[in-house]
């Protein structure tokens, strides 16, 4: 196998695939998938390191930080045990995102009581790179936790992950129009939760 353990992409804005097309399958990733199917330990570890931070970020924000480790574990087990069903019809990242979102949403719907936003705020792991405005980030994370799970998922995928509505719809298994209307409602709810001072603060920052 000519796969070398690659360094994970640098954290922060540089690694962010904003509006990146995910429709093509990378031949190197297909080789990695094949090696994982054969049970090659190095390949499995490489796949984990390549996607661990994105998967953990997604499940933390959708399922909540208290359950993120449990859900991320479930996601990676499903990935390794389900790789035989990955045919390369979509990008590997899209397939992994779909598994992550589905696992996080089904975990949320099974959870007996809603997540406490204060606990959630305290338990959000620090991002790999300091946020530009930590206070704003903390408030935003707390408000995200109060959104209904479906709204939270589409807002995280579209605004935080930077995916297009077509990609969101593919991951969520809905129509593009549904993704757009869900995002519209999610942002409206976030506006209510964050209050009018949010825009004033932004004006100050830009001034």
């Amino acid at each position: 196998m000519n796969i070398a353990i690659a360094q994970e992409k640098a954290p922060g804005r540089v690694a962010r695939p904003h509006k990146r097309r995910r429709g093509t399958v990378d031949p190197e990733e297909m080789e990695l998938v094949a090696a994982c199917r054969r049970g090659e330990h190095r390949a499995m570890e490489m796949l984990y390191h390549r996607y661990k931070r994105r998967v953990f970020g997604l499940v933390t924000r959708i399922a909540g930080p208290m359950d993120a480790e449990e859900v991320a574990q479930e996601v990676f087990v499903r990935i390794y045990r389900g790789l035989t069903r990955f045919r390369g019809d979509s990008a590997l990242s899209t397939w992994i995102y779909r598994l992550s979102v589905n696992a996080a949403l089904s975990h949320v719907t099974r959870r007996p009581k809603p997540m406490e936003s204060d606990d959630a705020l305290a338990a959000v792991p620090a991002p790999a790179e300091p946020e530009r405005d930590p206070r704003l980030a903390r408030r935003l994370e707390a408000c995200l936790a109060e959104l209904p799970p479906g709204y939270r998922a589409v807002l995280v995928l579209h605004d935080v992950e930077g995916l297009s509505h077509e990609e969101c719809a593919g991951i969520l298994g809905c129509r593009v129009g549904t993704s757009k209307s869900q995002l519209h409602k999610a942002r409206a709810k976030m506006r209510d939760l964050l209050g009018p001072e949010m825009a004033a603060e932004r004006r100050e920052r830009l001034a």
Binding site: P11, G12, R13, A15, R16, E45, Y48, K52, R53, R54, V55, F56, G57, L58, T60, A68, E69, A72, Q73, F76, V77, Y80, R81, S106, V124, P125, A126, P127, A128, E129, E131, R132, D133, L136, A137, L140, E141, L155, V156, D159, V160, E161, G162, K180, L183, H184, R187, M190, R191, L194, P196, M198, A199, E201, R202, R203
Partner: protein, 251 residues
């Protein structure tokens, strides 16, 4: 004329740049003279920018990989204790589903063809039944019938073929369900009491639906009754497959 209501509806598409130029210009014009809508647009932009500024990647705890490895090892050891029937089913089920699906589609196509042919018969008393057409076969150059024995079409009528196809498709569904019942019987020892009870309740419910549809189709399957019955089979197969493969109720 663009009103405040329009701004509230379109604000997300507007700030994301998803509107056409004319609509976007109309919104900008309204916002210039409406402080309420200007504040709304500003708040929408603030939310979007704040969310975009979040780092999508978060570092998991260092222990996560060890936990994943341990869980995979546990699942693989569990697989090594599975019955041969379960292992066979994992390999065969894509083909089984594909075969059942193909049979259902073939049945549907034939049913539509037959239904259309029968419609033609009712209007034209001189027209031959589809089966007769198939049996008689092509005409010679002078218009005389070619003897049936030289025609390439099978001797059975299309009606009979249709019934055969539907019965064959149904048999495949029922065979698949029977296989899954055997697998479920060998697996249920490892299920907890809640899963066993939920499984039995759901199977009883699905059995009742299948019995009802079969009773309704007692006089012979029509395309409609066949579709309903086959849909019930598919739901039952999907449910049994899910439980026997994952050992849990996912829905």
């Amino acid at each position: 004329m663009t009103r405040c209501h329009d701004i509230a509806e379109l604000v997300t598409a507007y700030v994301d740049g998803d509107l056409d130029d004319a609509r976007a210009s109309a919104i900008r014009g309204h916002v210039r003279s409406c402080s309420g809508c200007a504040a709304l647009v500003e708040a929408e932009v603030a939310v979007r920018d704040a969310a975009e500024a979040l780092d999508p990647a978060i570092d998991p705890p260092a222990s996560l990989w060890d936990r994943i490895e341990a869980r995979i090892a546990k699942e693989e050891i569990h697989d090594s204790r599975r019955s041969a029937l379960w292992l066979w089913w994992q390999r065969a089920r894509p083909q089984v589903f594909l075969g059942a699906g193909a049979a259902a589609v073939a049945g549907l196509v034939l049913a539509v063809w037959i239904a259309r042919s029968n419609e033609g018969d009712s209007h034209d008393p001189t027209a031959r039944a589809p089966g007769e057409l198939a049996a008689v076969g092509p005409h010679g150059a002078d218009g005389a019938d070619v003897p049936a024995s030289t025609a390439s079409t099978p001797s059975s009528t299309i009606d009979e073929q249709l019934v055969d196809d539907i019965l064959r498709a149904e048999k495949r569904y029922r065979d698949t369900i029977a296989e899954l019942e055997r697998i479920a019987a060998s697996e249920r020892e490892s299920w907890d009491a809640d899963l066993t009870a939920a499984y039995d309740a759901r199977i009883a419910e699905l059995d009742a639906i299948v019995r009802r549809e079969r009773a309704a189709a007692a006089g012979g399957l029509t395309p409609e009754s066949r579709d309903t019955l086959f849909a019930a089979y598919r739901v039952q197969i999907s449910f049994m497959n899910e439980v026997t493969v994952t050992g849990e109720l996912l829905q």
